[in-house]
Subunit: 213 residues, 2 copies
DNA sequence: TAGATTGTTAATCGATTAACAATC
DNA sequence: TAGATTGTTAATCGATTAACAATC
Protein backbone atom coordinates (compact mmCIF):
# COMPACT_ATOMS: atom_id res chain seq x y z
CA UNK A 1 0.00 0.00 0.00
CA UNK A 2 2.25 2.76 -1.26
CA UNK A 3 0.88 5.92 -2.89
CA UNK A 4 2.63 8.39 -5.13
CA UNK A 5 4.16 11.39 -3.46
CA UNK A 6 1.26 13.00 -1.69
CA UNK A 7 1.58 16.61 -0.61
CA UNK A 8 2.48 17.41 2.96
CA UNK A 9 -0.52 19.72 3.14
CA UNK A 10 -2.80 16.75 2.56
CA UNK A 11 -1.09 14.58 5.17
CA UNK A 12 -1.34 17.31 7.79
CA UNK A 13 -5.14 17.30 7.47
CA UNK A 14 -5.59 13.56 7.88
CA UNK A 15 -5.09 13.59 11.68
CA UNK A 16 -7.68 16.37 11.83
CA UNK A 17 -10.24 14.16 10.11
CA UNK A 18 -9.21 11.21 12.24
CA UNK A 19 -9.81 13.17 15.42
CA UNK A 20 -13.34 14.08 14.34
CA UNK A 21 -14.09 10.49 13.39
CA UNK A 22 -12.67 9.19 16.67
CA UNK A 23 -15.05 11.41 18.61
CA UNK A 24 -18.01 10.54 16.42
CA UNK A 25 -17.34 6.81 16.62
CA UNK A 26 -18.52 6.87 20.25
CA UNK A 27 -21.85 8.41 19.29
CA UNK A 28 -24.24 5.56 18.38
CA UNK A 29 -26.52 8.01 16.54
CA UNK A 30 -24.04 8.85 13.81
CA UNK A 31 -22.98 5.97 11.65
CA UNK A 32 -22.55 8.17 8.60
CA UNK A 33 -20.94 11.52 7.91
CA UNK A 34 -20.89 13.71 4.80
CA UNK A 35 -17.82 15.55 3.54
CA UNK A 36 -19.78 18.69 4.37
CA UNK A 37 -20.20 17.79 8.02
CA UNK A 38 -16.73 16.33 8.41
CA UNK A 39 -15.35 19.48 6.85
CA UNK A 40 -17.15 21.80 9.23
CA UNK A 41 -15.95 19.83 12.24
CA UNK A 42 -12.36 19.72 11.02
CA UNK A 43 -12.33 23.30 9.76
CA UNK A 44 -11.81 22.36 6.12
CA UNK A 45 -13.94 22.88 2.99
CA UNK A 46 -16.09 19.93 1.87
CA UNK A 47 -14.50 19.73 -1.58
CA UNK A 48 -11.07 19.56 -0.02
CA UNK A 49 -12.15 16.78 2.33
CA UNK A 50 -13.28 14.69 -0.64
CA UNK A 51 -10.16 15.47 -2.64
CA UNK A 52 -7.87 14.60 0.27
CA UNK A 53 -9.55 11.26 0.83
CA UNK A 54 -9.67 10.47 -2.89
CA UNK A 55 -5.86 10.32 -2.97
CA UNK A 56 -6.03 7.09 -1.02
CA UNK A 57 -9.12 5.37 -2.40
CA UNK A 58 -12.89 5.52 -2.67
CA UNK A 59 -14.20 5.45 0.87
CA UNK A 60 -17.65 6.97 0.47
CA UNK A 61 -20.99 6.08 -1.09
CA UNK A 62 -22.54 8.58 -3.47
CA UNK A 63 -25.70 10.09 -2.08
CA UNK A 64 -24.92 8.68 1.35
CA UNK A 65 -21.60 9.83 2.72
CA UNK A 66 -18.83 8.05 4.63
CA UNK A 67 -19.24 5.34 7.22
CA UNK A 68 -17.66 6.81 10.34
CA UNK A 69 -15.99 3.70 11.74
CA UNK A 70 -14.88 2.43 8.37
CA UNK A 71 -13.29 5.74 7.40
CA UNK A 72 -11.68 6.03 10.82
CA UNK A 73 -10.08 2.62 10.39
CA UNK A 74 -8.92 3.46 6.91
CA UNK A 75 -7.34 6.72 8.06
CA UNK A 76 -5.62 4.95 10.92
CA UNK A 77 -4.21 2.47 8.48
CA UNK A 78 -3.08 5.18 6.06
CA UNK A 79 -1.31 7.03 8.88
CA UNK A 80 0.30 3.80 10.11
CA UNK A 81 -1.51 4.19 13.40
CA UNK A 82 -3.01 0.71 13.30
CA UNK A 83 -0.09 -0.82 15.17
CA UNK A 84 2.14 0.35 17.99
CA UNK A 85 4.82 2.92 17.18
CA UNK A 86 7.63 3.14 19.69
CA UNK A 87 9.05 6.55 20.47
CA UNK A 88 12.16 7.74 22.24
CA UNK A 89 12.53 11.13 23.84
CA UNK A 90 16.07 12.45 23.99
CA UNK A 91 16.55 14.94 26.81
CA UNK A 92 14.85 14.32 30.16
CA UNK A 93 14.80 17.96 31.21
CA UNK A 94 11.50 19.54 32.16
CA UNK A 95 10.36 19.71 28.54
CA UNK A 96 11.30 16.11 27.74
CA UNK A 97 9.80 14.86 30.99
CA UNK A 98 6.59 16.81 30.36
CA UNK A 99 6.17 15.26 26.91
CA UNK A 100 6.88 11.83 28.31
CA UNK A 101 4.10 12.22 30.86
CA UNK A 102 1.75 13.75 28.32
CA UNK A 103 2.24 11.07 25.67
CA UNK A 104 2.24 8.28 28.21
CA UNK A 105 -1.10 9.38 29.58
CA UNK A 106 -2.54 9.61 26.10
CA UNK A 107 -1.35 6.08 25.34
CA UNK A 108 -2.59 4.64 28.63
CA UNK A 109 -6.03 6.28 28.37
CA UNK A 110 -6.84 5.53 24.77
CA UNK A 111 -6.21 2.03 23.46
CA UNK A 112 -6.34 3.27 19.88
CA UNK A 113 -3.58 5.82 20.46
CA UNK A 114 -0.70 3.69 19.31
CA UNK A 115 2.11 6.17 19.86
CA UNK A 116 4.03 4.82 22.83
CA UNK A 117 7.02 6.49 24.48
CA UNK A 118 9.22 3.60 25.60
CA UNK A 119 12.51 5.31 26.41
CA UNK A 120 14.06 8.55 27.59
CA UNK A 121 17.73 9.41 27.16
CA UNK A 122 19.78 11.87 29.15
CA UNK A 123 23.38 12.72 29.98
CA UNK A 124 22.73 13.51 33.62
CA UNK A 125 23.94 10.55 35.75
CA UNK A 126 21.45 11.61 38.41
CA UNK A 127 18.57 10.90 36.02
CA UNK A 128 19.88 7.75 34.35
CA UNK A 129 18.32 4.68 35.90
CA UNK A 130 15.24 6.53 37.15
CA UNK A 131 11.78 6.35 35.60
CA UNK A 132 9.21 8.95 34.56
CA UNK A 133 5.68 7.55 34.62
CA UNK A 134 7.22 4.11 34.30
CA UNK A 135 9.33 5.05 31.29
CA UNK A 136 13.01 4.28 31.93
CA UNK A 137 15.68 6.96 31.55
CA UNK A 138 18.77 5.55 29.84
CA UNK A 139 22.18 7.09 29.43
CA UNK A 140 22.61 8.99 26.17
CA UNK A 141 25.61 6.75 25.51
CA UNK A 142 23.34 3.75 25.21
CA UNK A 143 21.14 5.50 22.68
CA UNK A 144 22.15 3.54 19.63
CA UNK A 145 21.93 0.05 21.19
CA UNK A 146 18.66 0.78 22.97
CA UNK A 147 17.00 2.29 19.93
CA UNK A 148 17.87 -0.76 17.88
CA UNK A 149 17.02 -3.21 20.62
CA UNK A 150 13.63 -1.65 21.38
CA UNK A 151 12.82 -1.17 17.68
CA UNK A 152 12.26 2.54 18.05
CA UNK A 153 11.44 4.23 14.76
CA UNK A 154 10.45 7.69 15.95
CA UNK A 155 12.11 10.17 18.28
CA UNK A 156 11.55 13.52 19.92
CA UNK A 157 14.54 15.81 20.40
CA UNK A 158 14.26 17.85 23.60
CA UNK A 159 17.92 18.67 24.23
CA UNK A 160 19.63 22.08 24.25
CA UNK A 161 20.16 23.60 20.79
CA UNK A 162 23.91 22.88 20.74
CA UNK A 163 23.30 19.15 21.04
CA UNK A 164 20.36 18.92 18.66
CA UNK A 165 22.29 18.12 15.46
CA UNK A 166 24.54 15.52 17.11
CA UNK A 167 21.50 13.92 18.68
CA UNK A 168 19.75 13.78 15.33
CA UNK A 169 22.81 12.22 13.70
CA UNK A 170 22.98 9.52 16.33
CA UNK A 171 19.28 8.78 16.09
CA UNK A 172 19.48 8.49 12.33
CA UNK A 173 22.51 6.20 12.61
CA UNK A 174 20.49 3.99 14.95
CA UNK A 175 17.72 3.67 12.41
CA UNK A 176 15.16 6.28 13.46
CA UNK A 177 13.03 7.32 10.48
CA UNK A 178 11.01 10.24 11.88
CA UNK A 179 12.08 13.01 14.24
CA UNK A 180 10.20 15.78 15.98
CA UNK A 181 12.61 18.53 16.95
CA UNK A 182 11.84 20.91 19.81
CA UNK A 183 15.21 22.60 19.86
CA UNK A 184 15.15 26.08 18.30
CA UNK A 185 17.68 25.29 15.57
CA UNK A 186 17.58 24.06 12.01
CA UNK A 187 18.88 20.51 11.86
CA UNK A 188 19.72 18.41 8.83
CA UNK A 189 18.79 14.81 8.22
CA UNK A 190 19.51 12.59 5.21
CA UNK A 191 16.98 11.68 2.53
CA UNK A 192 14.47 9.16 3.76
CA UNK A 193 14.32 10.48 7.29
CA UNK A 194 11.39 12.74 8.00
CA UNK A 195 11.86 15.77 10.21
CA UNK A 196 9.24 17.99 11.78
CA UNK A 197 9.95 21.02 13.87
CA UNK A 198 7.96 22.14 16.89
CA UNK A 199 9.65 25.36 17.75
CA UNK A 200 7.89 27.16 20.57
CA UNK A 201 9.77 30.44 20.34
CA UNK A 202 9.17 30.59 16.60
CA UNK A 203 5.43 30.26 17.16
CA UNK A 204 5.43 32.94 19.82
CA UNK A 205 7.44 35.27 17.61
CA UNK A 206 4.92 34.82 14.82
CA UNK A 207 2.09 35.56 17.20
CA UNK A 208 3.82 38.74 18.34
CA UNK A 209 3.40 40.14 14.83
CA UNK A 210 -0.37 40.10 15.19
CA UNK A 211 -0.36 41.99 18.48
CA UNK A 212 -0.33 45.40 16.91
CA UNK A 213 -3.90 46.67 16.56
CA UNK B 1 3.35 51.30 10.73
CA UNK B 2 0.59 49.10 9.45
CA UNK B 3 0.88 47.01 6.30
CA UNK B 4 -1.80 45.52 4.13
CA UNK B 5 -2.80 41.97 4.87
CA UNK B 6 0.42 40.04 4.53
CA UNK B 7 0.22 36.29 4.08
CA UNK B 8 0.75 34.04 7.05
CA UNK B 9 3.34 32.12 5.06
CA UNK B 10 5.46 35.28 4.89
CA UNK B 11 5.14 36.03 8.60
CA UNK B 12 6.17 32.52 9.54
CA UNK B 13 9.50 32.98 7.77
CA UNK B 14 10.42 36.26 9.45
CA UNK B 15 11.48 34.65 12.75
CA UNK B 16 13.65 32.28 10.71
CA UNK B 17 15.50 35.21 9.18
CA UNK B 18 15.66 36.94 12.55
CA UNK B 19 17.31 33.92 14.13
CA UNK B 20 20.02 33.82 11.45
CA UNK B 21 20.66 37.55 11.83
CA UNK B 22 20.78 37.28 15.62
CA UNK B 23 23.52 34.67 15.37
CA UNK B 24 25.43 36.61 12.75
CA UNK B 25 25.25 39.85 14.69
CA UNK B 26 27.76 38.44 17.16
CA UNK B 27 30.26 37.72 14.43
CA UNK B 28 32.36 40.89 13.90
CA UNK B 29 33.47 39.60 10.47
CA UNK B 30 30.05 39.73 8.86
CA UNK B 31 28.49 43.14 8.70
CA UNK B 32 26.67 42.34 5.46
CA UNK B 33 24.63 39.44 4.17
CA UNK B 34 23.14 38.71 0.76
CA UNK B 35 19.68 37.29 0.18
CA UNK B 36 21.50 34.26 -1.19
CA UNK B 37 23.42 33.62 2.03
CA UNK B 38 20.54 34.50 4.32
CA UNK B 39 18.36 32.15 2.32
CA UNK B 40 20.76 29.22 2.60
CA UNK B 41 21.05 29.68 6.36
CA UNK B 42 17.30 29.97 6.82
CA UNK B 43 16.44 27.21 4.38
CA UNK B 44 14.61 29.50 1.94
CA UNK B 45 15.27 30.48 -1.69
CA UNK B 46 17.03 33.83 -2.28
CA UNK B 47 14.22 35.28 -4.39
CA UNK B 48 11.73 34.50 -1.67
CA UNK B 49 13.89 36.16 0.96
CA UNK B 50 13.95 39.37 -1.08
CA UNK B 51 10.24 39.20 -1.80
CA UNK B 52 9.37 38.61 1.85
CA UNK B 53 11.44 41.57 3.02
CA UNK B 54 10.14 43.81 0.22
CA UNK B 55 6.64 43.63 1.73
CA UNK B 56 7.85 45.81 4.57
CA UNK B 57 10.26 48.19 2.91
CA UNK B 58 13.60 48.48 1.14
CA UNK B 59 16.21 47.25 3.56
CA UNK B 60 19.07 46.31 1.25
CA UNK B 61 21.58 48.05 -1.01
CA UNK B 62 21.83 46.90 -4.60
CA UNK B 63 25.12 45.23 -5.36
CA UNK B 64 25.92 45.05 -1.64
CA UNK B 65 23.31 43.14 0.36
CA UNK B 66 21.71 43.75 3.73
CA UNK B 67 23.38 45.20 6.80
CA UNK B 68 23.04 42.45 9.40
CA UNK B 69 22.35 44.57 12.48
CA UNK B 70 20.11 46.99 10.67
CA UNK B 71 17.97 44.24 9.16
CA UNK B 72 17.83 42.43 12.51
CA UNK B 73 16.51 45.57 14.16
CA UNK B 74 13.97 46.14 11.42
CA UNK B 75 12.71 42.56 11.68
CA UNK B 76 12.42 42.86 15.44
CA UNK B 77 10.39 45.99 14.99
CA UNK B 78 8.16 44.39 12.35
CA UNK B 79 7.50 41.42 14.62
CA UNK B 80 6.80 43.71 17.60
CA UNK B 81 9.73 42.17 19.41
CA UNK B 82 11.38 45.51 20.15
CA UNK B 83 9.59 45.88 23.48
CA UNK B 84 8.57 43.47 26.19
CA UNK B 85 5.57 41.23 25.56
CA UNK B 86 3.99 39.77 28.66
CA UNK B 87 2.71 36.23 28.47
CA UNK B 88 0.45 34.14 30.68
CA UNK B 89 0.46 30.38 30.77
CA UNK B 90 -2.84 28.80 31.77
CA UNK B 91 -2.37 25.36 33.28
CA UNK B 92 0.57 24.70 35.59
CA UNK B 93 0.72 20.97 34.97
CA UNK B 94 3.96 19.45 33.79
CA UNK B 95 3.54 20.87 30.29
CA UNK B 96 2.68 24.39 31.49
CA UNK B 97 5.47 24.33 34.05
CA UNK B 98 7.96 23.12 31.47
CA UNK B 99 7.10 25.94 29.09
CA UNK B 100 7.32 28.44 31.91
CA UNK B 101 10.84 27.28 32.74
CA UNK B 102 11.83 27.13 29.10
CA UNK B 103 10.58 30.60 28.20
CA UNK B 104 11.83 32.11 31.41
CA UNK B 105 15.36 30.85 30.77
CA UNK B 106 15.24 32.18 27.23
CA UNK B 107 14.18 35.59 28.52
CA UNK B 108 16.76 35.68 31.31
CA UNK B 109 19.63 34.59 29.06
CA UNK B 110 19.00 36.81 26.08
CA UNK B 111 18.24 40.46 26.67
CA UNK B 112 16.80 40.80 23.17
CA UNK B 113 14.29 38.01 23.73
CA UNK B 114 11.39 40.16 24.80
CA UNK B 115 8.82 37.43 25.35
CA UNK B 116 8.38 37.27 29.10
CA UNK B 117 6.16 34.83 30.98
CA UNK B 118 4.86 36.80 33.94
CA UNK B 119 2.01 34.64 35.24
CA UNK B 120 0.78 31.08 35.52
CA UNK B 121 -2.82 30.15 36.27
CA UNK B 122 -4.11 26.92 37.73
CA UNK B 123 -7.14 25.48 39.50
CA UNK B 124 -5.16 23.34 41.93
CA UNK B 125 -5.15 25.08 45.36
CA UNK B 126 -1.91 23.27 46.11
CA UNK B 127 -0.17 25.11 43.31
CA UNK B 128 -1.76 28.54 43.73
CA UNK B 129 0.57 30.84 45.62
CA UNK B 130 3.71 28.94 44.68
CA UNK B 131 6.26 30.02 42.09
CA UNK B 132 7.95 28.33 39.15
CA UNK B 133 11.32 29.87 38.37
CA UNK B 134 10.11 33.00 40.09
CA UNK B 135 6.88 33.17 38.09
CA UNK B 136 3.85 33.30 40.40
CA UNK B 137 1.03 30.78 40.06
CA UNK B 138 -2.35 32.47 40.44
CA UNK B 139 -5.78 30.94 40.85
CA UNK B 140 -7.62 30.48 37.58
CA UNK B 141 -10.43 32.53 39.14
CA UNK B 142 -8.20 35.59 39.20
CA UNK B 143 -7.38 35.20 35.53
CA UNK B 144 -9.34 38.15 34.23
CA UNK B 145 -8.19 40.69 36.83
CA UNK B 146 -4.57 39.61 36.70
CA UNK B 147 -4.40 39.60 32.92
CA UNK B 148 -5.75 43.14 32.83
CA UNK B 149 -3.65 44.34 35.73
CA UNK B 150 -0.40 42.91 34.38
CA UNK B 151 -1.18 44.04 30.83
CA UNK B 152 -0.85 40.57 29.39
CA UNK B 153 -1.57 40.43 25.67
CA UNK B 154 -0.48 36.89 24.84
CA UNK B 155 -1.30 33.55 26.43
CA UNK B 156 -0.43 29.89 26.20
CA UNK B 157 -3.17 27.34 26.85
CA UNK B 158 -1.82 24.21 28.54
CA UNK B 159 -4.98 22.89 30.18
CA UNK B 160 -6.83 19.62 29.50
CA UNK B 161 -8.83 19.59 26.26
CA UNK B 162 -12.19 19.93 28.00
CA UNK B 163 -11.20 23.26 29.53
CA UNK B 164 -9.46 24.70 26.49
CA UNK B 165 -12.43 26.53 24.96
CA UNK B 166 -13.59 28.05 28.27
CA UNK B 167 -10.05 29.13 28.99
CA UNK B 168 -9.77 30.77 25.59
CA UNK B 169 -13.08 32.58 26.10
CA UNK B 170 -11.94 33.96 29.43
CA UNK B 171 -8.59 35.06 28.05
CA UNK B 172 -10.26 36.83 25.17
CA UNK B 173 -12.71 38.53 27.53
CA UNK B 174 -9.73 39.77 29.53
CA UNK B 175 -8.18 41.33 26.46
CA UNK B 176 -5.66 38.77 25.26
CA UNK B 177 -5.00 39.22 21.53
CA UNK B 178 -2.86 36.18 20.70
CA UNK B 179 -3.14 32.60 21.93
CA UNK B 180 -0.97 29.55 21.50
CA UNK B 181 -3.03 26.43 22.13
CA UNK B 182 -1.40 23.18 23.22
CA UNK B 183 -4.61 21.31 23.91
CA UNK B 184 -5.48 18.79 21.21
CA UNK B 185 -8.81 20.39 20.27
CA UNK B 186 -10.03 22.96 17.81
CA UNK B 187 -10.95 26.14 19.64
CA UNK B 188 -12.75 29.19 18.34
CA UNK B 189 -11.82 32.80 18.92
CA UNK B 190 -13.48 35.98 17.65
CA UNK B 191 -12.16 38.13 14.79
CA UNK B 192 -9.17 40.13 15.83
CA UNK B 193 -7.73 37.51 18.15
CA UNK B 194 -4.96 35.43 16.64
CA UNK B 195 -4.80 31.74 17.41
CA UNK B 196 -1.96 29.31 16.77
CA UNK B 197 -2.06 25.64 17.54
CA UNK B 198 0.87 23.58 18.76
CA UNK B 199 -0.63 20.16 18.84
CA UNK B 200 1.95 17.54 19.73
CA UNK B 201 -0.14 14.48 18.93
CA UNK B 202 -1.11 15.91 15.57
CA UNK B 203 2.55 16.33 14.67
CA UNK B 204 3.37 12.81 15.77
CA UNK B 205 0.46 11.40 13.81
CA UNK B 206 1.68 13.18 10.67
CA UNK B 207 5.16 11.79 11.23
CA UNK B 208 3.76 8.28 11.56
CA UNK B 209 2.62 8.47 7.94
CA UNK B 210 6.21 8.70 6.75
CA UNK B 211 7.35 5.65 8.71
CA UNK B 212 6.43 3.14 6.04
CA UNK B 213 9.47 2.43 3.86
C1' DT C 1 -38.21 7.92 -8.69
C1' DA C 2 -36.30 12.13 -6.38
C1' DG C 3 -32.82 13.82 -3.36
C1' DA C 4 -28.36 13.67 -1.76
C1' DT C 5 -23.59 13.26 -1.97
C1' DT C 6 -19.62 11.25 -3.88
C1' DG C 7 -15.30 11.29 -6.98
C1' DT C 8 -13.24 14.00 -10.42
C1' DT C 9 -12.33 17.48 -13.78
C1' DA C 10 -11.83 22.33 -14.80
C1' DA C 11 -11.34 27.08 -12.96
C1' DT C 12 -9.42 29.94 -9.59
C1' DC C 13 -6.53 31.50 -6.42
C1' DG C 14 -2.18 32.17 -4.09
C1' DA C 15 2.59 31.32 -3.35
C1' DT C 16 7.18 30.45 -5.17
C1' DT C 17 10.64 30.92 -8.63
C1' DA C 18 12.96 32.98 -12.58
C1' DA C 19 14.49 36.88 -14.88
C1' DC C 20 16.15 41.36 -15.30
C1' DA C 21 16.46 46.42 -15.16
C1' DA C 22 18.07 49.56 -11.68
C1' DT C 23 21.91 50.85 -9.06
C1' DC C 24 25.28 50.50 -5.42
C1' DT D 1 34.09 51.07 -14.84
C1' DA D 2 32.91 46.10 -13.91
C1' DG D 3 30.78 43.03 -10.75
C1' DA D 4 27.36 42.11 -7.61
C1' DT D 5 22.97 42.13 -5.70
C1' DT D 6 18.75 44.37 -4.87
C1' DG D 7 13.59 45.23 -5.71
C1' DT D 8 10.09 43.98 -8.82
C1' DT D 9 7.60 42.10 -12.63
C1' DA D 10 6.33 38.07 -15.26
C1' DA D 11 6.18 32.95 -15.45
C1' DT D 12 5.50 28.81 -13.10
C1' DC D 13 3.99 25.85 -9.97
C1' DG D 14 0.89 23.92 -6.59
C1' DA D 15 -3.10 23.97 -3.76
C1' DT D 16 -7.93 25.08 -3.07
C1' DT D 17 -12.53 25.74 -4.73
C1' DA D 18 -16.39 25.27 -7.89
C1' DA D 19 -19.05 22.53 -10.76
C1' DC D 20 -21.14 18.49 -12.26
C1' DA D 21 -21.81 13.80 -14.08
C1' DA D 22 -22.20 9.39 -11.86
C1' DT D 23 -24.76 6.78 -8.70
C1' DC D 24 -26.35 5.33 -4.21
Amino acid sequence: MRWKKISDAVIRRLPLYLRVLDELANDPNTQLISSQDLGVRAGVGPALVRKDLAWFGEFGKQGVGYEVKFLRDELRRILNLDSEIKIAIVGAGSLGAAFARYAHKRYADDSSFNLNVVALFDNDPGKVGTEIDGIPVYSANEMQERVRELQIHMAIIAVPSEQAQTTADRLVAAGVKAILNFAPVKINVPEGVHLASADLSLELQCLAYYLRD
